[in-house]
C-alpha cells in the first residue's frame, strides 16, 4: 500500500451532489440564488421593456426635469424630463445584448481552442499559445475604438471584437483545466479503448472543464458590462437620444452638481450587475471546488457540554510499569460536513508509556490518523474535540491555549507524517529549514544552530551531512526526506514522537532502514513513539503495544506479542488474516466482506457486528464497552470466548 485515503469523513452519498448540475448547486447557496435571481430579473425586465416601461423612453417633458422619484416617475426624470426607469429598461437591451455578443464570441474562440490545445499539446499548442501572447499584448481599447470607427459605432462589432481579444486569457485557463484532466487515468483508459480524440474531448475532457468555463464567462460578463457602458459613456454607441446606460451616466455627469440623484439609478444598476456577475462566478468556483473537498470551508466549534465518560478500565498491574507519558481518555472528535456534524472518534482511549512504542492500527476510516492529529491539536478547521481528555505528562491538552500547545509541540511531542516531502518547503535548502526549526526550540546563535543541524543529520544516519544541508528538498529521495523530517522532529529533543504512517509511501528496503533508525534513536534517547500504521509487519517490527481501531473506536489494546498470538477482538483477527501472507498461495484469502462504515452510517451497538462472523443478537443491544481480557489487555467484544473457541 503506498497511499491511504484521507480519513476525514466524507459521507459517500453526499458526493453525489457534484453531479446534480452546477446550476442547481449554485442556486441552492444564498449568494448564488440572489445574484442569479437578480440577473434573471434584469434580463426579463429588459426583454419586456415595451410592456413594463411606464413611458416612452424618448418622450420629453420639460415641465418635469431633474425630478427625484415620485409616484409618476418611479426613479425620477433626467434633464429633458424623460422617465429614468423607462430609459434604464430600454438601455439595458444594448447593454445586455453587448454582453451576450461578447460572451458568445469569447466562448466560440476560447473553449474549442483551449480544450484542444490542453488535450493535444505539442506543436499545435505552442502555435496557439504564441498567438495568444500576441493577442494579449495588443491594446484592446485602441482596437475597439478602431472597430467602432470602421463599423460606424456598432456596439455589436465592438463587443464581438472584445470577446475575441479577451478569449486569449480564458483560453489559457481552459487549457490549464484540460491539461489537468488529461493526466487522469480515465482519459488514458479511454485512449486505450481506441476512442478518437474528438470523442475523448467531448465525452471526458469538456465536462470536467465546465466549471472553469462558467467562472470565466461570468467574470468576463462583468468586465464586458463595464466596457459596454464605458463605450456608450464616451458616446460611441447608438447615437442619442436612444437610451444607453453609459449615455445616462454621461448625462448625469453634466448635471451632477445640480441633481446628484440622476447618477444613482444608472450607476447603481451598473454596479449591481457587475457585482452579480462577479458573485455568480465566485459561487460557481466554490461549488465546483467543493465537490473535491469534504469540508467545503466549514468550521467546527468544540461543544461545551461534555459527555459522561466511559467507566475507566483499569488494566490490572499496569501502574508498576514505566510511567504513562500520554494518556488519552474518552476522546470524542466531530467533523462538520456539508451534511451536518459527524462524530468521527468515539471515546478513544490509550496510554503511551515512556520509552515504549504504541502502534495505532486500523484501516482507512478507522480514525487512527485523526486520533494522532487530535492529540497534537492539529485537526482540520472543520474538526473539533468534543469530549474527553488528552493528558501529556499530566497536563491537559484539549483545553490548552494555542501558545501552550505551541510550547509542547516540538519539544514535548513531535510529529512526522506520511509524506515528508510535503513537510519541506521546496524553496529553501535543507540546512536553512532545519536551522530554523532548531532556533525555534532553542535560542542559539546561527553558528551553534548550524552545528546542531549537522549533529541531527548525523543522528539520522544521512551520509555526508555537510553536503545534504546545501541541497533543496527536490534534490533528495523520499527516504532521505523522511530522515530529514525525523531530524527536524528530533531538533527539540521530544519525549514523544508521533509518527503518522511514516513508511507507507516508501519502498520496503527504505522502510526497513527507517524503522531501524527509529529503533536506534529510541534506544539512544528513551523517546516514546506513537506510530499510526495499517501494516502488521511494521507493528511486528517496532511496536511494544498495540491499539487496534475500527470505525472511530479502539476495539482492542494489548502488548504486541499477545495481539499476534491471540487476537482478542474478531476485527483484529480478521484484519490479520486478510494479509496475503496468511493464506496458502493462490487460494482465497479469508477476507471480511464489506468496508469500514463511514461516520453517520455506523451500526448501533457493536460497530463491527455487521461484518463479524461471531455476531449475535446481543451485539446490537447496547454500546459495547472496552472489557478487560486477562492481564494488560482490553477488548471491545462480548464474545471473546467464542473467538478463543474458534482457534
Amino acid at each position: 500500500m503506498t497511499t491511504t485515503a484521507p480519513e476525514t469523513p466524507t459521507a459517500l452519498p453526499a458526493a453525489a451532489d457534484a453531479h446534480r448540475g452546477i446550476l442547481r448547486s449554485v442556486l441552492r447557496t444564498p449568494r448564488g440564488s440572489i445574484a442569479g435571481g437578480f440577473l434573471l430579473l434584469l434580463i426579463l425586465a429588459t426583454l419586456l421593456a415595451p410592456v413594463l416601461a411606464p413611458a416612452d423612453p424618448l418622450r420629453q417633458n420639460l415641465h418635469h426635469v431633474l425630478e427625484t422619484p415620485s409616484s409618476r416617475y418611479w426613479l425620477g426624470t433626467d434633464s429633458l424630463g424623460r422617465d429614468l426607469l423607462s430609459r434604464l429598461l430600454y438601455g439595458g437591451r444594448p447593454a445586455l445584448a453587448g454582453v451576450l455578443e461578447g460572451v458568445l464570441a469569447q466562448l466560440v474562440v476560447a473553449v474549442p481552442l483551449g480544450v484542444a490545445t490542453g488535450y493535444l499539446g505539442g506543436r499545435f499548442d505552442r502555435f496557439v499559445m504564441r498567438v495568444c501572447d500576441i493577442v494579449m499584448s495588443v491594446p484592446t481599447i485602441v482596437i475597439l475604438l478602431g472597430v467602432l470607427t470602421i463599423f460606424d459605432r456598432s456596439i455589436a462589432a465592438a463587443m464581438i471584437t472584445l470577446g475575441v481579444l479577451s478569449a486569449a486569457g480564458t483560453l489559457r485557463v481552459v487549457r490549464g483545466a484540460a491539461m489537468t484532466v488529461r493526466q487522469e487515468l480515465y482519459v488514458s483508459a479511454a485512449e486505450l479503448l481506441g476512442l478518437g480524440r474528438v470523442q475523448i474531448i467531448f465525452r471526458h475532457i469538456l465536462p470536467r472543464c465546465r466549471g472553469v468555463i462558467i467562472v470565466q464567462t461570468s467574470l468576463f460578463a462583468a468586465v464586458a458590462i463595464g466596457i459596454q457602458t464605458g463605450l456608450t459613456f464616451l458616446g460611441l454607441g447608438p447615437p442619442p437620444p436612444s437610451p444607453t446606460w453609459g449615455g445616462m451616466i454621461n448625462e448625469s455627469a453634466v448635471t451632477l452638481s445640480r441633481a446628484p440623484w440622476l447618477l444613482v439609478p444608472a450607476g447603481g444598476l451598473i454596479a449591481l450587475t457587475v457585482l452579480a456577475f462577479g458573485i455568480l462566478g465566485d459561487v460557481v468556483r466554490d461549488v465546483t471546488a467543493q465537490s473535491h473537498t469534504s469540508s467545503g470551508g466549514l468550521r467546527a466549534r468544540p461543544a461545551s457540554g461534555r459527555r459522561a465518560p466511559e467507566a475507566p478500565v483499569e488494566v490490572p498491574g499496569s501502574e508498576a510499569e514505566a510511567p504513562v507519558l500520554l494518556r488519552v481518555r474518552d476522546l470524542d472528535v466531530s467533523f462538520l460536513t456539508p451534511h451536518g456534524e459527524r462524530e468521527v472518534l468515539t471515546k478513544v482511549g490509550f496510554d503511551v508509556r515512556a520509552g515504549r512504542t504504541l502502534g495505532l492500527v486500523g484501516e482507512s476510516g478507522s480514525g487512527k490518523s485523526v486520533t494522532a492529529r487530535a492529540v497534537l491539536g492539529l485537526l482540520e478547521a472543520n474538526g473539533a474535540v468534543t469530549g474527553g481528555s488528552v493528558r501529556f505528562r499530566g497536563r491537559e491538552l484539549t483545553r490548552a491555549s494555542r501558545k501552550e500547545l505551541a510550547a509542547i509541540r516540538g519539544t514535548g511531542i513531535a510529529l512526522i507524517s506520511q509524506e515528508p516531502m510535503v513537510a519541506l518547503d521546496p524553496s529553501f535548502r535543507i540546512g536553512a529549514q532545519l536551522g530554523e526549526v532548531v532556533r525555534a526550540h532553542t535560542r542559539m546563535s546561527r553558528g551553534a544552530a548550524r552545528r546542531r543541524v549537522l549533529e541531527l543529520l548525523e543522528m539520522v544516519e544521512l551520509p555526508d551531512p555537510e553536503e545534504i544541508v546545501t541541497r533543496y528538498p527536490f534534490q533528495i529521495s523520499g527516504g532521505m526526506a523522511q530522515r530529514v523530517a525525523i531530524a527536524a522532529a528530533l531538533a527539540g529533543s521530544p519525549e514523544l514522537l508521533i509518527a503518522d504512517e511514516p513508511t507507507t509511501a516508501l519502498d520496503v528496503t527504505v522502510q526497513a532502514d527507517i524503522l531501524a533508525l527509529l529503533r536506534r534513536i529510541q534506544a539512544d534517547t528513551g523517546m516514546a513513539v506513537l506510530i499510526v500504521t495499517h501494516d502488521w509487519g511494521v507493528v511486528a517490527d517496532i511496536c511494544s503495544d498495540v491499539a487496534v481501531m475500527y470505525a472511530g473506536q479502539v476495539v482492542e489494546s494489548a502488548p504486541v506479542e499477545d495481539v499476534f498470538a491471540r487476537p482478542s477482538h474478531p476485527y483484529t483477527a480478521a484484519l490479520m488474516a486478510a494479509g496475503p501472507e496468511h493464506a496458502p498461495r493462490r487460494t482465497p484469502i479469508k477476507a471480511v466482506e464489506g468496508t469500514v462504515p463511514p461516520p453517520g452510517d455506523r451500526p448501533a451497538g457493536c460497530r463491527f457486528r455487521t461484518r463479524c462472523p461471531l455476531a449475535e443478537a446481543d451485539c446490537a443491544e447496547q454500546e459495547i464497552p472496552l472489557l478487560p481480557v486477562g492481564e494488560h489487555r482490553t477488548s471491545r467484544c462480548i464474545h471473546t470466548a467464542h473467538l478463543e473457541a474458534r482457534r
Partner: protein, 356 residues
C-alpha cells in the same frame, strides 16, 4: 502448465512476449533517462506473472510500453501476431489486452455514470467494427459484468463519487473485463487499498483468472501480494531484470543479493519471526556507497554486500539460477545458500488454522 517465464521466446507465440525492451524518457535536449534497460519477459496464455520492483525500477514503464503509452527505444513487444512495438501511439491497441490502474479515484470519469463508463468499451468496439450495438444488449452486458465482479445491478445508474476505493477498483476491473480480454495488466491495482479490501480484490482476481482463463501481468512493489497471486515472478531493479523464476522459488530461495535484500526488508507478521529477519538483514546490509554504479556495471553494486571489482566493470547477463529460474549475478555460485521463511507455514504457525 505453460512454459516458464524465463525461456527464450519463440516466434508467433500465444500470449505477451517482451523481448529486450528499452524505454528512454527524454530529459530535455539530447539527454534521456533509461527507465527500462533490456527487459525480456513472457506472459503465456492463462498464466499469471508478477513484475516486482521498487519505485524507479521501471515496472510501470514496462506496462506502459505494452499499452503504447511509453516510447519504445528498441526491442520487441508482441501479442500473438500483433507487433505492438511497431504500432503508433494513436493506433488502436489489441482489445485482448486490458489494464487496471492503481488509483481507483482518477481512473473513473466523475461526470459519467458507471453504466456509461462500462458501456464505453463496447461502444468503442462497435464504432470500430461498424456493427450496431443494441441498447438492451449493452445493458445486459453491463449488468452481467457487474454481477461478475460482485456489484449490484443498480451500480450502473450511480456516479463514481458514491463508491469506496475497493468498489471503484471492482468497477475498473469490470471495465477491463467487459470486452472479454485475454490478458489483464494490473498496475499496482491493489496497492492503494486497505488490507481487507485488498484481500477481497485479490480473491476476485484469482477467481476470475481461474474461471475465465485470463492471463495476468501483475505489477506491484509488494512481495507478499505477488507471492500470493503470481505463478511466475520477474524482479526488476533500475530498469533491469535481476532474477526470474516461479514465484514460490524466487520468494523462498532468492538467488540475487537484491532479491534477498527485498525479501528480508518486508517485515513478517510475527514478532519473533520479524526480530530474526531484522537481525539477519542488519548483519548483511553494507553501508550504502554514495556513487551510483556506472552503466556497464551491475546496477546493484553500491548496495551489494558481495560486490567485487568485476561487478563494477562488467554487466552480468541473465543465466541459470540455482532454483531453476534465471539470475543476473556474477557471483551467484559463490553466494551462501539461503532460504527465507515466506507465507504461512513456518513463520506464523498460530494463524494456520485461521481465526475467521
Amino acid at each position: 502448465m505453460s512454459a516458464p517465464v524465463h525461456e527464450t521466446p519463440g516466434r508467433e507465440e500465444a500470449g505477451l512476449v517482451i523481448d529486450d525492451l528499452v524505454v528512454d524518457y527524454p530529459l530535455g535536449r539530447r539527454r534521456h533517462r533509461r527507465a527500462v534497460d533490456g527487459v525480456s519477459l513472457r506472459v503465456p496464455a492463462g498464466r499469471s506473472v508478477g513484475l516486482v520492483g521498487e519505485s524507479g525500477s521501471g515496472k510501470s514503464t514496462v506496462a506502459k510500453a505494452v499499452l503504447g503509452m511509453a516510447p519504445i527505444g528498441s526491442g520487441a513487444v508482441t501479442y500473438g501476431p500483433a507487433r505492438l512495438h511497431e504500432a503508433g501511439r494513436r493506433d488502436s491497441r489489441p482489445q485482448e489486452i486490458q489494464v487496471v490502474f492503481q488509483d481507483p479515484y482518477s481512473s473513473l470519469d466523475p461526470t459519467k455514470t458507471i453504466g456509461y463508463t462500462l458501456a464505453e468499451p463496447l461502444r468503442a468496439r462497435a464504432d470500430r467494427t461498424g456493427t450496431p450495438l443494441g441498447r438492451a444488449e449493452c445493458q445486459d452486458a453491463v449488468r452481467a459484468i457487474l454481477d461478475r465482479v460482485g456489484l449490484p445491478p443498480d451500480t450502473a445508474d450511480r456516479y463514481p463519487a458514491q463508491f469506496s476505493g475497493g468498489q471503484r477498483q471492482r468497477i475498473s476491473l469490470a471495465r477491463a473485463l467487459i470486452v472479454r480480454p485475454e490478458l489483464v495488466i494490473c498496475d499496482e491495482a491493489v496497492s492503494a487499498l486497505d488490507l481487507s479490501v485488498q484481500a477481497q480484490i485479490l480473491n476476485l482476481l484469482l477467481e476470475l483468472q481461474q474461471d475465465l482463463g485470463l492471463s495476468l501481468l501483475f505489477i506491484t512493489h509488494d512481495l507478499a501480494v505477488v507471492h500470493h497471486i503470481a505463478e511466475d515472478l520477474v524482479v526488476l531493479y533500475r530498469g533491469r531484470v535481476m532474477e526470474s523464476g516461479t514465484a514460490a522459488d524466487v520468494c523462498r530461495a532468492p538467488s540475487h543479493p537484491y532479491t534477498r535484500q527485498l525479501v528480508m526488508s518486508a517485515p513478517l507478521h510475527s514478532v519473533g519471526g520479524q526480530r530474526e529477519r531484522r537481525e539477519r538483514r542488519e548483519a548483511m546490509t553494507p553501508p550504502p556507497a554514495r556513487a551510483l554504479p556506472l552503466a556497464e556495471a551491475c546496477p546493484f553494486t553500491h548496495r551489494c554486500p558481495f560486490a567485487v571489482d568485476r561487478c563494477r566493470t562488467e554487466r552480468p547477463a541473465l543465466r541459470e539460477a540455482p532454483h531453476g529460474g534465471r539470475v543476473a549475478c556474477h557471483r551467484v555460485e559463490e553466494l551462501p545458500d539461503w532460504t527465507e521463511p515466506f507465507g504461512p507455514p513456518a513463520s506464523t504457525p498460530h494463524h494456520e488454522n485461521g481465526t475467521l
